[in-house]
Symmetry: C2
Subunit: 297 residues, 2 copies
């Protein structure tokens, strides 16, 4: 049996482009430049001797036949992905030791660890709770979850989740105001910011269609958790990543004041020690975390 297949990399690029109806978004999904997608689609079109996309103004549309192909490829690639995931789950065994701050441990990891164990029965996660990142070798760590700027998430720093924030506060502060509130209303409240990250408030107001005036009442806090506590106590409005405060939103101790959200240039990452070999179990853990976060809220 000799099966003739087109270049699978090209097919994958095509499937992503077809799903998004955008080369740019496909490029983003596959972590390459948009030009790369353009190349691959072109090569596939030459292979088949037929157009896959109609090129329109600033967008692409699938040809009739290509739409069928894309749908079938999507199914097949899903099958490949799930088969690989099942295999991975089977062969992952042992324990990985990961350092994480209590803030994230409580809000992100611990509530979902059961779920992870169900997905990877042979793999246990040993969490070290600490406020600062210690030396990997010294503490016998396999990885660490660290929050910060997302400038160069490379081989040793996998992005798990970029903060996507909206203004939140205690219901006590806004007693009775209708939700959502306008940016103008929100600007009347005291605003809680992390020291040195005041710009996120300006960015949020800009996204909401308003300029933040210089004479707003803004408090500055050393840590994000402190700004959030300040808001929780009903003293101010803070910007918060909604998945992280889902419990507070659910039990009503915090409310979200606006639909407008902005994505920050900082978030949570999984850092692994430098070296030639990367433990696939960490990749699996990171992938799992990244995948699940998008489902929370």
């Amino acid at each position: 049996m000799t099966r003739r297949l087109p270049n699978l990399k090209h097919l994958r690029a095509f499937e992503a482009a077809a799903r998004h109806l955008s080369f740019k978004q496909a490029a983003n999904e596959l972590s390459v430049t948009q030009a790369a997608i353009s190349h691959q689609i072109k090569a596939l079109e030459e292979h088949f001797g037929a157009r896959l996309f109609h090129r329109l103004n600033r967008q692409v549309a699938l040809t009739e036949e290509a739409a069928v192909l894309a749908a079938e490829l999507e199914l097949a690639l899903d099958q490949v992905a799930s088969a690989s995931a099942r295999f991975r789950a089977q062969v992952m065994t042992g324990t990985i030791r990961i350092s994480v701050t209590p803030f994230y441990a409580n809000r992100m990891i611990l509530p979902h660890l059961e779920e992870f164990h169900a997905a990877f029965p042979g793999l246990s996660v040993d969490l070290e709770l600490s406020y600062e990142i210690a030396d990997f070798a010294e503490r016998d760590l396999d990885g660490a979850l660290r929050y910060g700027l997302s400038d160069r998430p490379g081989a040793y720093m996998q992005l798990i989740h970029l903060d996507r924030v909206a203004p939140v506060t205690s219901p006590a502060l806004i007693h009775g105001n209708d939700l959502p509130m306008t940016p103008a209303q929100i600007a009347e409240f005291p605003l809680a910011a992390v020291a040195g990250q005041e710009r996120y408030w300006s960015q949020w107001f800009k996204a909401a269609g308003r300029t933040l005036s210089d004479d707003c009442k803004m408090s500055r806090h050393d840590q994000r958790a402190l700004a959030l506590d300040f808001a929780l106590a009903g003293n101010a409005v803070a910007l918060a990543d909604l998945p992280l405060i889902r419990n507070e939103l659910a039990n009503g101790s915090l409310v979200c004041l606006s639909e407008t959200q902005i994505t920050l240039d900082r978030g949570i990452h999984l850092a692994v020690p430098e070296g030639p070999f990367r433990d696939p179990r960490l990749t699996a853990f990171g992938d799992w975390l990244r995948g699940r976060i998008s489902e929370w809220i």
Copy 2:
């Protein structure tokens, strides 16, 4: 939706190796060297952090989990292949003009052309029957089926089928002998060979476990078709490729004398004009032909 997939090329190599339980055969199927397969499996094993194969003496065996993965991948890749084939069939339109000798046209192409049209409704094949290959441009040809040595089937010469021959003759010659016959019995008959290709008879006898003696009765013919006609007339035994004489075998005008078959270093190829662009319709035609031939007989 961001789907995490292992390198698809590696998965394909793994699937082939798992199917054959042999790196070497997988390499052969994928037209690469055995070393390449070894590299790819190794990379995949590192990606997963787990063994896919047990390495035994001169053979490999799948691990338990890898066997499941392989089965699932086989299905998924089949889906990709059939989806691609369907797309191809849809977009292939127009006419391709192919030169072929009457011998092959009658025995290989014409009886199956209907079938091809069913598979590629938009594509017609225009056959030019001729004994010699003319200049592509002069006769406005897109390709030519040519029989010959298979030394370097490269970009411009796609192998369709290597002759796999066994001794055949008219029932008249062997009147009443039981089949299959032993090599010794066969050596008693006059043997028909193509001039300059007598070695194939030696090769066949060697494969059948006997040395061909120098004093056998061997006739030499200028063309393969003539040697075959000679056998058909009951004058000698000839070596023939079974798929090519399926009609004669079916209607009893020829019988095969032995189970032993050997593969020659010559066969039928699809030649295309040199140049940077290869017409995908010719590739499709060649692939189809190659695929179907293995099913005839």
